[in-house]
Symmetry: C2
Subunit: 381 residues, 2 copies
């Protein structure tokens, strides 16, 4: 059966990107590869909106998260960790693995952290070396206010590290203007590639911290990646076919223009949210991201059953709730290689699934709301 991906990663891979990855493999020490990787790195800086370095690792996004901890901090350091979902929690686990004392700020899932709380913690706690945050929290669909958080962190001797694994290329993020020292991301989200590549932008304060940090690292070393990058290379044999595909995907993003890419994600997210509301459901995220729309399911509708039905009957793959939200929310991505009819089909499937499971509403109202937003480009029509 044909399948339709609405899970927030891995996202659909455009056919011409797949074709590029199917070409005969380049040797990673050849001049052809150097040219390609230098182009990729320039384009990554465009997408990351940074004038500083963007390093590429052959790893899951978690590998780049670990790289941030290992390259910036030393055992015994203290760091503030914003935990507002499953992936925020990962920062705390990584700190623990490296002997870094995590000072957690726990936020109810579905909500964004209040920047003034972060300011209070930073004023109260001593010896904080870094703040670890999440841009778009994939488990809840919440977008955190990185710009304000950056202002809160700036002016202190504290590094600001942001996980933008799912948010990169969907919601605006300006590390150089917003005082973010390291942004990490992955290939299988807004970059429209299969998983297997992870990235870290590294600003000047992060480089200085990396010189001081004593945590062990080799494969994930920022410095080793930078040394190789000076020659247009990777320190170890990289996932070459994914780099070949990435070159193509980044050309596509460059051609569309980052502002247009953000606007497209915003429009699809707005249309999807309008569809959800029209059906009579509530958004789970109080500050929704443009990466995905998380929907609180009504009483009597089991999310696991809904997802199972949508997949078995229609090939529709949506995300479910993680951990304590299992069965209670559904997560509908509009990320990467997604166009307007992707949003139409997504809400259409949600309606058909809900109707099948006995939820009472006027079938079609959601799709109509999506169509209105997409036609007139505003949601209050």
């Amino acid at each position: 059966m044909r399948s339709y991906i609405y899970a927030p990663g891995p996202t659909p891979v455009p056919p011409h990107v797949t074709l590029k990855m199917s070409e005969p493999i380049l040797n990673h020490r050849s001049p052809e590869y150097v040219r390609l990787f230098e182009e990729v790195t320039e384009h990554l800086k465009y997408v990351f909106q940074t004038a500083h370095d963007v390093l590429t690792f052959t790893a899951s996004g978690t590998g780049a998260m670990e790289a941030a901890v290992a390259n910036l901090l030393s055992p015994g350091d203290r760091a503030v960790v914003i935990r507002a979902g499953k992936f925020g929690g990962r920062w705390a686990e990584l700190c623990a693995a490296y002997g870094v004392e995590a000072v957690p700020i726990d936020v109810e899932w579905g909500h964004a952290v209040d920047p003034s709380v972060v300011a209070d913690v930073l004023s109260r706690e001593s010896g904080i070396k870094a703040v670890f945050a999440t841009h778009s929290e994939t488990s809840t669909g919440v977008l955190h206010d990185i710009e304000t958080l950056g202002r809160v962190v700036s002016g202190r001797d504290v590094l600001f590290v942001v996980d933008a694994i799912s948010g990169l290329g969907a919601n605006d993020l300006r590390p150089d203007d917003w005082h973010v020292d390291v942004v990490v991301s992955g290939s299988q989200k807004g970059l429209m590639l299969p998983p297997g590549l992870a990235f870290a932008s590294v600003g000047p304060r992060a480089w200085a911290a990396s010189d001081r940090a004593t945590s062990p690292r080799y494969y994930l070393s920022f410095k080793r990646a930078k040394e190789a990058l000076k020659k247009g290379l990777n320190p170890y044999t990289p996932a070459i076919t994914l780099i070949m595909g990435l070159a193509e995907a980044l050309r596509q993003i460059k051609a569309e223009g980052l502002a247009n890419v953000f606007a497209r994600h915003a429009r699809l997210a707005e249309a999807t949210r309008a569809g959800v509301r029209a059906i009579g459901l509530e958004l789970f995220a109080t500050r929704p991201s443009n990466v995905l729309t998380s929907v609180t399911l009504p009483a009597g509708i089991d999310g696991n059953q809904l997802l199972k039905h949508l997949k078995a009957r229609y090939g529709i793959i949506m995300g479910g709730g993680l951990d304590h939200l299992k069965g209670k929310i559904v997560r509908i991505a509009h990320l990467g290689y997604a166009d307007e009819f992707h949003a139409v089909v997504g809400i259409s499937a949600l309606e058909m699934g809900l109707a099948y499971l006995g939820y009472q509403f006027k079938v079609g109202v959601g799709v109509a709301a999506v169509q209105r937003v997409l036609t007139f480009e505003r949601s209050n029509v």
Copy 2:
């Protein structure tokens, strides 16, 4: 121009493996993926020739090497490192990164380590926790005698860790019979895939060591990989398309039969060596691997110029000498998706390149020698 890969990795990817990787991407939490990954893991155990665990990481081979150090050892531990080439040297660098004191056994490049030297060092040195060795050293084309080394290490409270990144599936390696606790490998060699996946087989003594080791690790944690594997999953979003391709490549290896795969590599290596000798050149490796044939270039022939010419004129990509061997040797792989005419073309290209650069010999003698071996399956015909 069509290109012909004789570099010892990345090796050519079979078209049907490429096709599998081009299929719509699976979700890494779906039942379909679980089925695939469980099959992959079973087949990996077949290729690794182990009844114990084989863990898969999204990483370069170096990532799995680092995993071995980080999961087995603690800062202050001592380990013997056999350095007989560039990749043996990497073990020492990894130990240094993790605060492990490396006791090096340096072997002249082109030679295999003498197991009795390892025995002497183990008898002399106290507190050695592990021996790190290389199966087939890609930088020199040497095959180390892992079976005898395993006997030397066995009976002591010392772990034996082998880098078989290039050797897996080309030269026999029996960790369970040969007292090897951890074997690491990568996807872009004998497994016929693009780079991006790394593997580690982990035996019972290694698991016990992993429980004691205090080095920090998270992304490369054996334990986290094993916990996820129990559910047929990876702990973090894996390189899904590479896993899809791996499933196909492993089916092909299973269908051919591992013994036949080894025999094919042995035959191609023998034919290539016969061709090299017939041209009048010397083998660089005193104990040659079936992964690649390293050839000492005659006086007056610059290896860099030879490789450049072969690539520009014929699209032939061979490996050159690394570090101090730059320009002095050429490395001809016969690894993975290689058949008999791959060997014919390789020696043919070598002859044409040498002739073009003015080396005096009877053009065609090398190819004839290759043909004789391939026809009669012995080299002394």
